[in-house]
Amino acid sequence: MGSENTPPPGPAIRLAGLRRDYGDRAALDGVGLELAAGESLVVLGPNGAGKTTLLRILATLLRPSGGEAVVLGCSLPREAWKLRGRIGYLGHEPLLYRDLSGRENLRFQARLHGIRGERAEARIAELLAAVGMERRADERIVELSAGMRQRLSICRCVLHEPELLLLDEPDSNLDAAGREVARGLIGPDTGRTRVVVTHDPERFLPEADQVLRLGIGEIAAVS
């Protein structure tokens, strides 16, 4: 699991001149920053500014078109394979199979991350209890509300105890109790390095060590 890895020397994330093009259009251009281990970066910007693109590049799901991206000591995209399994990614989609139950989905994820047997069952039970989903864990995902799916998605995100959390609108679909639950697993007190994409600066700015503002057709600004 991620927590068993030795923390890399230097910053957890270092970006320099990062660019990503979709055809002729630059979705990201000239993004640069350094984020130390354990710090939180909040990414702000209007729709289409490239926030999700940035997160997907950091998650190794997209290749950068140019510039430098070093995440947990791994240079992307060349060393992406070393990074997988050390990242917890919470995207717009819950990444859960609709026809499997929450518990079956988490078991599947655990096996992909090399967590098996009693260790997996104990970890899954612990997370389901943490998000208050023990009673609904054996229902198929398609039968659950969006908020419940988000709770399970948070479990999936932290199941393998990742070093780096990449969170895209982590509070979406969550009620006040759900947000409190989420805070315990993916909040700043977990001590993990976090990148949070949000449209809700009031909620997340107090947690930020750094803020990245992305604009459409503008140079990214870090503060």
């Binding site: 399994g85 989609e93 819950p94 990444l95 499997l100 079956e104 992909l112 999936r156």
Partner: protein, 226 residues
């Protein structure tokens, strides 16, 4: 890195569990095949078929039934984020290819378990050809599974998926179908199974399987990149 055999087992078990629960592919494949046999039965107005005609009816039907399953092979990965979840895990992505090809192989075997006896009931005078036919079915299924998995993974990101799979797959499986019908033809000959060039055709099927399994294993990782 998670051992590939664990990742393979996890993905295969997930796919088979989903199919057993939802029955999205197998019933459609079986219904298509049975309906096609009925159409041939009355369209050809023959109570018995033999040789190349019988082999042609069997393989054309199985191939088009297989296309239905191939079309849906990666739909859950595409629509429910499975591709991302698998790409985020520390696994060799070839495990996904192997697991999907094995799942498709299981679907094809299940399809044939139901439809080949129906074919025999409609068109064959005796069931003597069925035991050796199993070897042909198995080798042709392996080739269809390897090629189908490869094409399905490429087509799934396209909105024209249902059109793209047959357009790309069918030309690629022409050699496989020639070998499968070539091996099946003498087995279904009038007067009982014969084995003329049977071994040669099985060799061709095996070679096809090997080539496409290796191609799939080699290129699948690149197909999953953005």
């Amino acid at each position: 890195m998670t051992p590939s055999r664990h990742a393979f087992a996890a993905i295969l078990a997930k796919d088979l569990r989903s199919e057993l629960r939802t029955l999205q592919s197998l019933p459609a494949m079986a219904l298509f095949a049975v309906t096609t046999f009925v159409i041939f039965r009355f369209g050809l107005d023959r109570t018995s078929l033999s040789g190349s005609l019988a082999a042609g009816v069997l393989w054309a039907t199985l191939l088009f039934a297989a296309v239905l399953g191939i079309n849906r092979l990666f739909v859950a990965e595409r629509e429910e984020g499975g591709f991302d979840a698998i790409r985020l895990a520390p696994i060799d992505r070839s495990a996904l290819f192997a697991a999907k090809a094995t799942a498709l192989l299981v679907y094809l075997l299940a399809l044939e378990l139901v439809t080949v006896p129906i074919f025999a009931f409609f068109f064959l005078d005796s069931a003597a050809a069925l035991p050796p036919l199993f070897a042909v079915l198995l080798l042709a299924n392996l080739g269809l599974a390897a090629t189908g998995t490869l094409i399905s993974s490429m087509a799934v990101n396209s909105r024209a998926r249902d059109l793209l799979v047959p357009l790309v797959l069918l030309p690629l499986v022409v050699p496989l179908m020639i070998a499968a019908t070539g091996a099946t033809d003498p087995l279904l000959a009038v007067g009982g199974p014969g084995y003329e060039r049977f071994g040669t055709w099985l060799g061709v099927l095996g070679l096809y399987d090997l080539i496409f399994a290796l191609v799939g294993y080699a290129v699948f990782d690149f197909l999953l990149e953005d």
